[in-house]
C-alpha cells in the first residue's frame, strides 16, 4: 500500500487584519470585523479585539478558534494575578505573559497572529508584536494578518520608527496626535480592503489614553 499523506488539518485561517500604533500618551488598536473561510464569509461582525487588563488590549488574526482559546487562558491568568498581587497587570507584564503562553504550545501552536497595545507604567503608548510561537518585540507600530503586507510598508513610510538597535534607545512612539493616528489607521484599512479579499466589512478602533478607553466603528467595503 503506498504511503498515505494526512489531508486533515487542525488549522483554518479566518483571515482579517490588525493594526496598533503607539503615541506619546495614547495607543490605537484596530482590527476589521470580517471572519471568513476559503472564499466564503462566515460573519461580517466578529470582534478580534479583547481588553485583557485596564491598560492592555490585544488584537489577533488567524484561526479564531485558537484565538478564542488563547484569550480565555490570558483572562484566567490575569484573574489569578489580580488575586495574588492585588493589582492589574501592566502592559509589559501582559506582553511577557502572552509570549510565555504562546511558547508553551511551541509544538502545537496557537495559529494566532497578535498585536498587544496599551499604556506602560509611565502612561506612554506601547505596542508589542508577536509571531505564532511567542517571539515578541516592543515597537512603535505594527500590523498582523492577511492585510499586513499591504499596510506595514505604508506605516513604515509614514511613521519611520527608528531602529531598536540604536544606542541610546530612541523613543519608538510616534509624534502624531491621537486624531491623526486614528485618521492614519482608517486610511490603512480602507486601502487594504481595496486589495485584500479577506479584509473588509467593518473596522473596529479602540483608543486607550489617560482618560480611559474609547471605541469607534467605521464602515468598510463589503465585497
Amino acid at each position: 500500500m503506498p504511503i498515505q499523506q494526512a489531508n486533515w488539518s487542525p488549522y483554518d485561517n479566518n483571515g482579517g487584519t490588525c493594526v496598533a500604533i503607539a503615541g506619546a500618551d495614547y495607543c490605537v488598536i484596530a482590527a476589521d470585523t470580517r471572519m471568513s473561510t476559503g472564499y466564503n464569509i462566515l460573519t461580517r461582525d466578529y470582534s478580534k479585539i479583547i481588553q485583557l487588563a485596564d491598560k492592555s488590549v490585544m488584537a489577533s488574526s488567524g484561526f479564531q478558534a485558537d484565538v478564542r482559546a488563547l484569550q480565555k487562558v490570558l483572562e484566567a491568568r490575569h484573574l489569578v494575578y489580580q488575586h495574588q498581587h492585588n493589582k492589574q497587570m501592566s502592559c509589559p507584564a501582559m506582553a511577557q505573559l502572552l509570549s510565555n503562553t504562546l511558547y508553551y504550545k511551541r509544538f502545537f501552536p496557537y495559529y494566532s497572529f497578535n498585536v498587544l497595545g496599551g499604556l506602560d507604567s509611565e502612561g506612554k503608548g506601547c505596542v508589542f508584536t508577536y509571531d505564532a510561537v511567542g517571539s515578541y518585540e516592543r515597537v512603535g507600530y505594527s500590523s498582523q494578518g492577511s492585510g499586513s503586507t499591504l499596510i506595514m510598508p505604508f506605516l513604515d513610510n509614514q511613521l519611520k520608527s527608528p531602529s531598536p538597535l540604536l544606542l541610546p534607545a530612541k523613543d519608538a512612539v510616534t509624534p502624531l496626535s491621537e486624531s491623526e493616528a486614528v485618521d492614519l489607521v482608517k486610511t490603512c484599512f480602507a486601502s487594504a480592503t481595496e486589495r485584500d479579499i479577506y479584509t473588509g466589512d467593518k473596522l473596529e478602533i479602540l483608543v486607550l489614553n489617560a482618560e480611559g478607553i474609547r471605541r469607534e466603528y467605521m464602515e468598510l467595503r463589503k465585497d
Binding site: S36, N40, R195, D196, I197, M218, E219, L220, K222
Partner: protein, 273 residues
C-alpha cells in the same frame, strides 16, 4: 547558446517536456509563478426578446485583488458576447481567437454569425487542450434562429440553458436565479435580476467584487452597460492626504578619484607602415 528553442510538437498543442524539471524545482523550494485568476461571478439569462449577460469586475491573484475593474464580458461577434471565468489569460486568448475566426467566417459566408458556431469552435478548442486551458465561459447571443445561452466548461463540455452561472460566485448567483427566474421576463426585469445575481456574488463570494457589468443582446441590437452598478465606493478618503518625501537618504559618500589622464605629446614620431 547553440541550443534551439523548446521543441513544438508537429501537430500543435502543449509540450510537456519541462514538467519534470518544474516538479523538481518546486521540490527544491522554488515558488512557482501564480496565475491571475478571475475568481468570478458570471451569469446569463434568456428573456422575452433575447439574452442578458452579467459579470463582476474583480481579478484576483490568490488573496490579492490584481484588477479592481476588469472587463469579463468579451466580444465575439456583433450579436454574440461571452463572459469568462478562470485563468484571465486563457479566457482572453480563447475569446479573441474565436472572434477572429468568426470574422473571417462572416466574410466567407456573407452571413451573420450563429451562436452555435461560436459554441462549436470554443468547445473543440478547449477539448483538444484536455482542460489545461482553464476557461469556463457563459456564451450568449441572438442570431437568425433566435436567442441562445450556453455554458462551456474547461474540459469542453457544454450545456444549453435558460439561465446559467459560472465562477467561484456561481452558487451565490444561482441561488438568486433559482428563486426569482421565470420565463418571459421583460428587459428591465431581466436586467434587474441579473444585477441582483451578480451583486449576490459580489457580496457573498470573496473571489468576486467591485462593479456589475451587463450586456443586453436582442435581435439586431446590443447594449453594453459597463459598470451598470457601482455598489462599492471607497469608504474613507483622508481629508488631509498623505505625502511621500521624494528625497533619498544619503548613507555614505565616498569619492574615488579617476585615474590620472594620459597626456598626449605633440610632435612624436609618426607611425610608419
Amino acid at each position: 547558446m547553440s541550443k534551439a528553442a523548446i521543441e513544438v510538437p508537429p501537430k500543435g498543442g502543449f509540450s510537456f517536456d519541462l514538467c519534470r524539471r518544474n516538479e523538481m524545482l518546486v521540490k527544491k523550494g522554488l515558488n512557482a509563478p501564480s496565475f491571475l485568476k478571475t475568481g468570478t461571478t458570471i451569469v446569463g439569462l434568456v428573456f422575452q426578446d433575447g439574452v442578458i449577460l452579467g459579470a463582476d469586475t474583480r481579478a484576483t491573484e490568490g488573496p490579492i485583488v490584481a484588477d479592481k475593474n476588469c472587463e469579463k464580458i468579451h466580444y465575439i461577434a456583433p450579436n454574440i458576447y461571452c463572459c469568462g471565468a478562470g485563468t484571465a489569460a486563457d479566457t482572453e486568448a480563447v475569446t479573441d481567437m474565436v472572434s477572429s475566426q468568426l470574422t473571417l467566417h462572416r466574410h466567407h459566408t456573407g452571413r451573420e454569425s450563429r451562436v452555435v458556431t461560436a459554441l462549436t469552435l470554443l468547445k473543440s478548442h478547449l477539448f483538444s487542450y484536455q482542460g489545461y486551458v482553464s476557461a469556463a465561459l457563459v456564451l450568449g447571443g441572438v442570431d437568425f434562429t433566435g436567442p441562445h445561452l450556453h455554458t462551456i466548461y474547461p474540459h469542453g463540455s457544454t450545456d444549453t440553458l435558460p439561465f446559467a452561472t459560472m465562477g467561484s460566485g456561481s452558487l451565490a448567483a444561482m441561488a438568486v436565479f433559482e428563486s426569482k427566474y421565470r420565463e418571459g421576463l421583460t428587459r428591465d426585469e431581466g436586467v434587474q435580476l441579473v444585477a441582483e445575481a451578480i451583486s449576490s456574488g459580489i457580496f457573498n463570494d470573496l473571489g468576486s467584487g467591485s462593479n456589475v457589468d451587463i450586456c443586453v443582446l436582442t435581435k439586431g441590437h446590443k447594449e453594453y452597460l459597463r459598470n451598470h452598478l457601482q455598489p462599492n465606493p471607497r469608504t474613507y478618503i483622508s481629508e488631509k492626504g498623505y505625502s511621500f518625501s521624494k528625497k533619498t537618504e544619503v548613507l555614505l559618500t565616498k569619492i574615488t578619484p579617476l585615474r590620472d589622464s594620459v597626456h598626449i605629446i605633440e610632435g612624436g614620431d609618426e607611425m610608419e607602415e
